[in-house]
Symmetry: C2
Subunit: 325 residues, 2 copies
């Protein structure tokens, strides 16, 4: 087993381009970074634990992608521009093949989003990955879960439900036998964080969140933080042809998957009537599929409907401390 110091040297040092705002990167007790003037720092932390968030034998490259993408998605939901990250990696043993695949994928995604690894910790123990990401937001623009107003339109990016279907296929071991299996497995692990879309939303959206707990639960977070209600038309929910195929073309089931599927890492946000046109134009520039799924209502109102016909679905969000897996 290799020592911790050489592990850091071999796998993490000098693997990436040096950002100009990083005065001191990996290798001292702290990193030292410079924050530009007139920006605020957005900071987020997420943990992925083997057995809870991914299977122990999952492809290490996919695990790396999912860990970093889920954190970048948090930055995206605040409209932040990625800057730096710290990686805390706990490993049962020094598996150089695993580490090599993990690091290749990690640095590839990090490089794409120009986010520099500035430090972290490697420890021995049950496999888990904790990332803390840092990004910049303009000091006069804040995009949070607060700010949705009655009459605002509710949008989501991409398609929803695929991650839940992918997870089911992985857990059942049927991802290779089902016609949509390989694609849905990828959707579970290899989401693209909506970083550019989030930045475009900064001036245009009234509130935003990323879909990690499931759309229904995440919309509730916006409603609670903003003190409003919502009406959602399930017939508008964007679902993929792979999800429909997986569910035997049961559209109601697909809509329920879209409402409850966690770890989607798409954005859900609200936009005023006046900003609707600019929004659709701005997001088409960054090639982000966009769907209007409902509207903000006064506080206390929560309505799911199918083209106007009310639905009384009982939906449960995605909560690591609740689910049994």
């Amino acid at each position: 087993m290799t020592g911790e110091f050489s592990l850091i040297d071999r796998f993490f040092k000098q693997r990436q381009a040096q950002r100009k705002d990083v005065q001191l990167g990996i290798g001292d007790d702290c990193a030292i970074v410079k924050v530009p003037e007139q920006v605020r720092l957005a900071i987020s932390t997420d943990t992925m634990v083997s057995g809870t968030h991914f299977l122990p034998d999952a492809n290490p490259a996919w695990v790396a992608h999912k860990a970093l993408a889920s954190n970048l998605s948090d930055l995206a939901s605040m409209g932040a521009t990625p800057a730096w990250c710290s990686l805390a990696l706990t490993l049962p043993e020094t598996d150089t093949e695993w580490l090599s695949q993990f690091c290749d994928a990690f640095f590839e995604l990090a490089s794409y989003y120009n986010i520099q690894l500035i430090g972290g910790d490697t420890t021995r123990g049950p496999l888990s990955i904790t990332l803390t990401v840092h990004g910049f937001v303009p000091e006069d623009q804040v995009l949070t879960r607060q700010g949705a107003k009655v009459g605002d339109w509710i949008y989501v990016t991409g398609t929803l439900g695929d991650s839940k279907a992918g997870l089911e296929l992985i857990l059942s071991g049927e991802q290779m036998v089902h016609p949509s299996g390989a694609e849905l497995e990828k959707r579970h692990y290899l989401s693209s964080p909506r970083v550019l879309a989030g930045q475009a939303l900064l001036k245009l959206a009234s509130s935003a969140i990323d879909i990690s707990d499931g759309l229904a639960a995440d919309v509730q977070h916006i409603l609670e933080c903003s003190g409003v209600g919502a009406s959602i038309d399930v017939s508008c929910l964007p679902v993929s042809k792979e999800l429909l195929q997986y569910l035997g073309d049961d559209i109601v089931k697909a809509q329920q998957y879209a409402l409850t599927s966690g770890e989607e890492y798409e954005l859900c946000f609200t936009v005023s009537e006046g900003n609707k046109g600019s929004l659709e134009s701005a997001l088409s520039h960054c090639d982000t599929p966009l769907t209007c799924i409902g509207q903000i209502r006064p506080q206390g109102q929560w309505e799911l409907h199918d083209k106007g016909k009310p639905l009384a679905w009982n939906l449960t969000g995605y909560d690591h401390f609740r689910r049994e897996k």
Copy 2:
């Protein structure tokens, strides 16, 4: 079992004073903070895993203290002023009694150092704690592992060796039967990060590190980063009377403990001849015990001696990926 959302609400929200530079704290996808002008940000991440860094049945208050203190020690070694932290807590189950004791101790220490918890993640899995801490350093002053010069004096704060002795007593279960057991156990878990001392060192020291891997290994980090060598007089190493008692007054063994004991969270630093007087005066103001243990030599020279008599001790540092526990 309680859900993740109510867990965060119950144990982590509204437990602390709000810093003015925290625009948005716990509760959104990211925290938003403001970095003062003319400072750099120092960032550090450390993980503590149950079974590797503490025993599963360890006092949760002590675990919390050790986790935060070890991270604050990283800030101290760069002379940084603590500002914010993120906590990633992985728990096998929602044990409210454990959480309550953990949080009480965590917020007590955080409050003392005016460091605000701004976010994090709670997940289910084998018990571990990852903290990322942020602090401020003046833009024109940097204290790192580089910068030690030939002729500089080598200092350490506090006493050394106690943490190793405490760990041995904990692992053997004899902390309650040995006369110094209770005290050494506390030294292992309840170190005081040298935050004020670190800040005082900013203008005075040429290099600094905190002792987490063991003095001999940590001095080597300074020597490698600075391109110098060192001579250390083991007869000067500060050891406590509790350590001597534990080792049956074997001073040679105590010196070897002082050189190899990890997780001490004392500072080791170098000071030029010209700054020696100011240094000793500055650190006496912040009530920090201080000992000069040797001097920086040209690159390639590494000498341990006892009042001039050379020693050929073979010392191994503290490395989580090497030690068998």
